[in-house]
Amino acid sequence: MEKLFLLDYKVKKKIVEISLAAVGVMFRKLSRRCPEMKAELAAWNPGRRFTLGILPDGPAATFEYTGAEVRYIGSGVKDPDVAIYFKNIDSALLVFTGQIGAHTAAIQCRTAIHGDLVHAMQMVRAMDIVVAYLMPGFMHGPLFKRPPQMGFKEQLLKTGAMLELPVGLIFNAAK
């Protein structure tokens, strides 16, 4: 059974904010370097914006695909084309702490999609790639229906990205 979080709201909020920022850093890196992500983004129109956030007005982050990369354009809901919201912060924590995968969150009605459903599916597939790189391999089991195969090249990219993550987090925090 998923664990209940009895942490103080401020603590939960901080964990989610850091997680969202980490997603932003990893997304940017992968959008420039990862062939699988590039193939996924090939179907996106430049300028497409998407938001990940927590309802009703919890932490949120908005990203934009420029045509060349996915940029973090700041915290908050910034006029997205499509948004995936967690209905509450506990549900977001279940995902960000790797207890359940994004598809399980959707299946358990813990998320709400606002916007075009095709764009949402494309966003979810891209997010799955981000999660594969952010989460250690031993945690992949419950996060994916079919855990991704990560060969030497992918592991190398993952190591590089993880090393760059702290700098990226500091940079994004300034936005």
Binding site: M1, E2, V82, H103, T104, A106, I107, Q108, C109, R110, A112, I113, H114, G115, D116, L117, V118, A120, M121, Q122, V124, R125, F144, K145, R146
Partner: protein, 391 residues
């Protein structure tokens, strides 16, 4: 114990049985409305079903403001705008859909245009975009298939862009559904078979897909029992009222089940096949269902095996694998029988799909939200493999 969170929502009042439609004016008054914008199509009107509706209004104090009877198959956004315009011109205060999924979904979408006071339906596609309460919507289904009378979904064809647009919102749920056996008696055998297979697919996918829950499970099993008991009877003898009522109740139960536990790869592929090759929704489901079930055997043999006693006589020997195979074979036997009785296609190539379209269908299918709920992960390559098997 499975402690997974689930939600279940169905606010639709159901009035089912002999002369159910006669209660429509009473339900309209209960909802505080009296003047109906009726949405139907030429086939339904030609079958004399609108006379049954008009008859129900006699002496009721409610009336019909306008009847729109030109809904095309799979609807169209231009149709939706026209219906909304007529609603305004005739000072209607509610919608009444009499027809299959195409008419019901047209009424749902016109309700968006009216309630949101917009002329741009596109703005509201996707999930949960409606911000205002919708007008009361009353539905009398004339096919036993889509379950749209109890779902929060509308699917509308954007004829300019050539894409099917999906709208989902709890606000799209009808106010009441009238399951009247008189309304499906005239449905031709092939449409009866196809729409019935759509309903069976809803029930089976709702039962084995990932969002299954105890409430939707019970509805899905009820639906399977009713459909297996009566689908063939309806195709053999369309005038069998008891069988027709079974099918209508079965399709409704399946609709309630899948509206809450969703569908999977069969529907994802059927939507894409319909969008690209214009194969009727039920026909595509009928062809793809056994292949979709097979696709999920690795992850879900035990759950699919549970369906066997509801679909066929269960093999005395053997475990889950054999029983799951028996369930799939039962679906194949059913479609083979329907093929003999009314020519329901068994292969995509017999339904107007050409091989050069398979790749585009596979690519479109992986952007369908239904895949989220499919137990097995499905990539474009997996989708193409299933399509080739069904070709």
């Amino acid at each position: 114990m499975n402690t997974s969170l689930f939600e279940f929502y169905c606010p639709v009042k159901i009035i089912s049985g002999a002369l159910a439609l006669s209660s429509l004016p009473y339900e309209m008054r209960s909802a505080g409305v009296t003047r109906a914008m009726v949405v139907t199509d030429a086939g339904v009107k030609g079958a004399g079903l609108i006379s049954i509706l008009e008859n129900a209004f006699d002496g009721s104090g409610c009336d019909i403001g306008c009847i729109y009877d030109e809904t095309p198959p799979d609807s169209a956004h231009t149709t939706v705008n026209r219906v909304a315009q007529l609603y305004r011109e005739h000072n209607c205060d509610c919608f009444v859909a009499v027809g299959g999924g195409s008419c019901i979904d047209t009424a749902k979408a016109a309700n968006i245009v009216i309630s949101e006071d917009t002329d741009d339906l596109m703005k509201f596609r996707g999930a949960d975009r409606l911000t205002k309460p919708t007008r009361p919507l009353f539905v009398a289904p004339t096919t036993a298939g889509t379950g749209s009378e109890v779902t929060l979904v509308a699917v509308i064809n954007n004829t300019e862009a050539g894409v099917k647009m999906a709208f989902t919102s709890p606000r799209l749920c009808p106010t009441a559904a009238f399951i009247d056996p008189r309304m499906t008696l005239t449905c031709p055998p092939k449409i009866t078979a196809a729409t019935g297979m759509d309903a069976l697919t809803h029930a089976i996918e709702a039962y084995y897909c990932l969002q299954k829950n105890p409430i939707s499970d019970s509805l899905a099993l009820t639906a399977i029992r009713l459909i297996m008991r009566s689908l063939i009877k309806c195709v053999e003898n369309g005038k069998d009222e008891n069988a027709r009522l079974d099918m209508a109740n079965g399709a409704l139960a399946a609709g309630m089940a899948f509206s809450n536990s969703m569908v999977g790869v069969v529907h994802a592929l059927a939507h894409a096949t319909g969008g690209i090759c214009h194969v009727p929704h039920g026909v595509a489901n009928a062809i793809l269902l056994p292949f979709g079930m097979e696709n999920n055997l690795d992850m879900r043999a035990g759950v699919i095996a549970e369906l066997a006693p509801h679909l066929c006589s269960v093999p005395a020997q053997g475990g889950d694998a054999q029983r799951a195979q028996a369930a799939i074979q039962a679906v194949r036997d059913l479609t083979a029988k329907l093929n003999k009785l009314c020519g329901l296609p068994l292969k995509l190539s017999d339904a107007g799909v050409t091989r050069d379209k398979l790749e585009a269908i596979a690519k479109a299918s992986i952007n369908d939200g239904a895949l989220t709920y499919n137990p097995e992960h499905v990539t474009a390559a997996d989708a193409l493999r299933i399509l080739e098997q069904a070709f």
